[in-house]
């Protein structure tokens, strides 16, 4: 079964956050939280909030953890990140960029495997009828970003420009945020923006399920491979049984049929445990951009 990317666009953020829950529970006395549902935050890093996907994910987590699971969706990365930092979520699927920003306060529970690796890339796309040869040709564009807290939908391009000594405001005539990778593709396809920064994983999945949209766009630059958006919990919850249950559920996802069907919808191979060093390249970008500003 294919993962369904919603055409309405606002939900993709939520799926991501969903997986992170468990750690927060550790920091608390277990009795206090025992019996309350596990909360997992999702953000639009992912595809849209297909109801079937959310149901499948919730059902899988519930069965695997033995607890009720509540999926919490927010519009921006920032909101979900804030919730997990405040330990209001047991786990959250966030982007590598906020993880790097808050590496001390967050703990990795699992990283998705995509095409066999826990890595993905950021794409710089333009409309397919444009003749620009490389990213230099997008100077003066109106540019569509996904989210200011997204690595692939913002930071990667900002770092690319910073590496050439330029800021976003100098290079692009104007830019805006669509708060969704699919929206970036829509904006570029419709001509609202002349170019856009998008999650390579999302674009590739869209190419399978909505080829009529992606065919109107063309990738003119792919970034280096970087750590896939992880599922995290607050560092204080890292040792909690709740976080532990979520971590176990994630890592075991590929081994059962229920988990496999959810992974099929997400077009990923499974979740693995990775060291924080996976995100060093993103941390380097952050440093690069911060150094310019």
């Amino acid at each position: 079964m294919l993962p369904h990317v919603s055409r309405t666009g606002h939900t993709r953020r939520e799926v991501i956050g969903a997986l992170g829950t468990g750690l927060a529970a550790l920091a608390c006395p277990t009795d206090l939280k025992a019996g309350t549902p596990l909360t997992v935050g999702l953000t639009p890093v992912f595809l849209n909030s297909d109801l079937a996907l959310l149901d499948g994910l919730r059902t899988y987590l519930k069965e695997s953890t033995g607890s009720d699971v509540q999926l919490v969706m927010r519009r921006t990365y920032q909101e979900v990140t804030a919730l997990v930092l405040a330990r209001q979520l047991d786990a959250a699927w966030i982007c590598g960029f906020p993880y790097v920003r808050h590496r001390e306060a967050l703990h990795l529970l699992g990283v998705p495997l995509w095409r066999g690796r826990p890595l993905y890339r950021s794409y710089l796309i333009v409309r397919s009828d444009r003749t620009v040869a490389d990213w230099h040709g997008t100077r003066g564009d109106i540019h569509a970003f996904s989210d200011p807290d997204s690595n692939s939908g913002y930071l990667a391009t900002a770092a690319l420009l910073a590496g050439s000594g330029m800021g976003i405001g100098e290079f692009f005539r104007s830019s805006f945020y669509t708060y969704g990778h699919r929206n970036v593709v829509r904006a570029v396809a419709a001509g609202l923006a002349q170019s856009g920064s998008v999650d390579g994983y999302v674009w590739e999945v869209l190419r399978e399920i909505e080829p009529e949209m992606t065919i109107q766009t063309r990738v003119i630059r792919a970034s280096d491979w970087q750590g896939f958006p992880p599922i995290v919990c607050a560092a204080g919850d890292a040792a909690s049984p709740r976080a532990d249950r979520i971590r176990s559920a994630l890592l075991a996802m590929a081994s059962g049929n229920a988990g496999r069907s959810v992974l099929d919808m997400l077009r990923i191979d499974g979740f693995v445990a990775e060291p924080p060093a996976l995100y060093d390249s993103i941390a380097a970008e952050v440093d690069l951009v911060d150094a310019r500003s």
Partner: protein, 476 residues
């Protein structure tokens, strides 16, 4: 054009006129309704956009504005926005449904902006199948942006065309049906008139004919009454014609009877003397003196009968009509009239001035004079005088008859002298005498004058033109 065609054509023309007026009204109302409906839809569309657009504009959220426009396009049933553009307060495009035509962050195309009305709504421009709607978006008394929407009205135009076609087709069919029905109805209604017209036309050529019973039986209502009245009229006309011909036959018989009676009388007068003479001869035939006297008497009697027969034959002999008139003809009148004169004890003064044959036909003139004289005798009292004078005068033969009666009635004078010459029946109680005179006078272009006679009664003068060739022969 025939009535059965003309009336349906008039009906059809009126129907078309009514249809055209009604269609125009319907289309006008439909256009107004559609315009109102479209405007309501447009307003709803803009209202639906306004609420989410205002916060997005305040945040200058390009994507949100585009997303709202893009998704609202398919949300309004019956409304097809062709182009929707949202500008910020400064008039720069924030987002448009077609970013290629109206790029984000550019100035709004002045041509596009000017195609919108000063007020919010510009009704559908039918030529282009477009309607234009503009709305300022305000928040807390400040303008935060403007929405421009161009709506597709092709659907309305097509609907109007369909309605118009339906109207025209319906009116056409109804008009045709009414015209056809009208043709049949009028044809049915005027069929009695056509039958009557046919019969009347025939009557002028071949004699009047009633409408056949079968046709009358098949007809109903007014037509039936009309046919029956016509047939009664035909019966009456036929009866009158039969009666007239019977009367004419009877009149002929009466004339023949009078003639026969006159002849019998004329022959009977000398017959007594002749038989007496024959008896005398039988008994005293040996006496030469008696024989001679008796034979003489018989001879005179036979001569008298011969005269009567001769004049009668001359008078009624048809092939005598071209014989010119002579003095003898006038003298014959005295012979013909003798029995009547005797019966009424009248005296005839015959003044015959005719020199020899003159160029007028003898027979008709004799008949005319005989009739005039008979009338004169009838009018004159016993013992009085009747006079006749015939003479030539300026290329005419003038015959004058005087009587001693009380004068001809005005009615008879009028009948005799009136110049219209129609073969009208004689005035009542007059017999056919005057009619014969008048007809003869007309045939030979003669003029008739009536005046007072020195004898105390009427004087009738008949002036007959003399034919040219006889005049020459006469002169020679």
């Amino acid at each position: 054009m025939r009535l059965s065609v003309r009336i349906p054509l008039i009906v059809a023309a009126l129907m078309m006129l009514v249809g055209a007026v009604l269609s125009e009204r319907v289309m006008d109302r439909l256009t107004q309704t559609q315009d109102r409906h479209l405007r309501q839809l447009g307003e709803t569309y803009i209202d639906g956009l306004s609420f989410p657009l205002i916060p997005a504009l305040i945040r200058d959220d390009v994507w949100e504005v585009f997303d709202i426009i893009d998704r609202s396009r398919s949300l309004h049933v019956g409304l097809t926005p062709i182009a929707t553009v949202v500008t910020d307060a400064a008039g720069n495009v924030v987002a448009a449904s077609d970013p290629d035509a109206h790029p984000t962050r550019s100035r709004l195309d002045p041509d596009f902006r000017d195609s919108f009305p000063a007020d919010e709504w510009a009704g559908p421009s039918h030529a282009e199948s477009r309607a234009f709607l503009r709305r300022e978006l305000r928040s807390q008394d400040r303008t935060v942006g403007t929405v421009y929407a161009v709506l597709d009205t092709t659907h309305s135009v097509r609907e109007r065309q369909t309605v118009l076609l339906t109207l025209v087709a319906t009116n056409g069919v109804i008009t045709l049906l009414l015209a056809g029905g009208g043709y049949l109805a009028v044809r049915y209604m005027v069929s009695p008139v056509r039958i009557l017209t046919h019969h009347l036309t025939l009557s002028a050529l071949e004699g009047i004919d009633p409408v056949p019973d079968g046709v009358v039986r098949r007809s109903r209502g007014e037509a039936r009454r009309l046919f029956r009245s016509f047939n009664r009229l035909v019966d009456e006309v036929r009866e009158k014609r039969d009666l007239a011909s019977r009367l004419a036959a009877e009149e002929r018989m009466a004339t023949v009877g009078r003639l026969a009676s006159g002849l019998a009388h004329e022959i009977n007068n000398p017959l007594g003397g002749l038989l007496t003479a024959v008896d005398t001869l039988k008994r005293h035939g040996a006496d030469p003196a008696v024989r001679e006297r008796s034979v003489d008497l018989v001879e005179r009697g036979l001569l008298g009968i011969r005269d009567v027969v001769r004049t009668t034959v001359l008078t009624y002999k048809v092939d005598e009509s071209h014989r010119p008139l002579t003095g003898c003809d006038v003298s014959d009148l005295a012979v013909l009239l003798a029995p009547e004169l005797d019966r009424r004890s009248l005296r005839l003064v015959c003044d015959n001035e005719l020199p020899g044959p003159v160029g007028v036909p003898a027979s008709p003139v004799r008949q005319a004079l005989l009739n005039l004289l008979l009338n004169a005798c009838a009018a004159s009292p016993a013992g009085s005088t009747v006079a006749v004078n015939v003479r030539r005068e300026d290329g005419m033969v003038v015959a004058r008859v005087d009587d001693s009666g009380p004068g001809m009635p005005d009615e008879a004078v009028d009948y005799l002298t009136r110049g219209d010459g129609k073969a009208m029946p004689p005035p009542s109680g007059r017999g056919l005498g005057l009619w014969v005179v008048r007809r003869l006078a007309k045939d030979f272009s003669a003029s008739i004058t009536v005046s007072s006679s020195p004898l105390g009664g009427s004087r009738v003068e008949l002036a007959i033109p003399v034919a040219e060739e006889v005049k020459h022969a006469d002169a020679a």
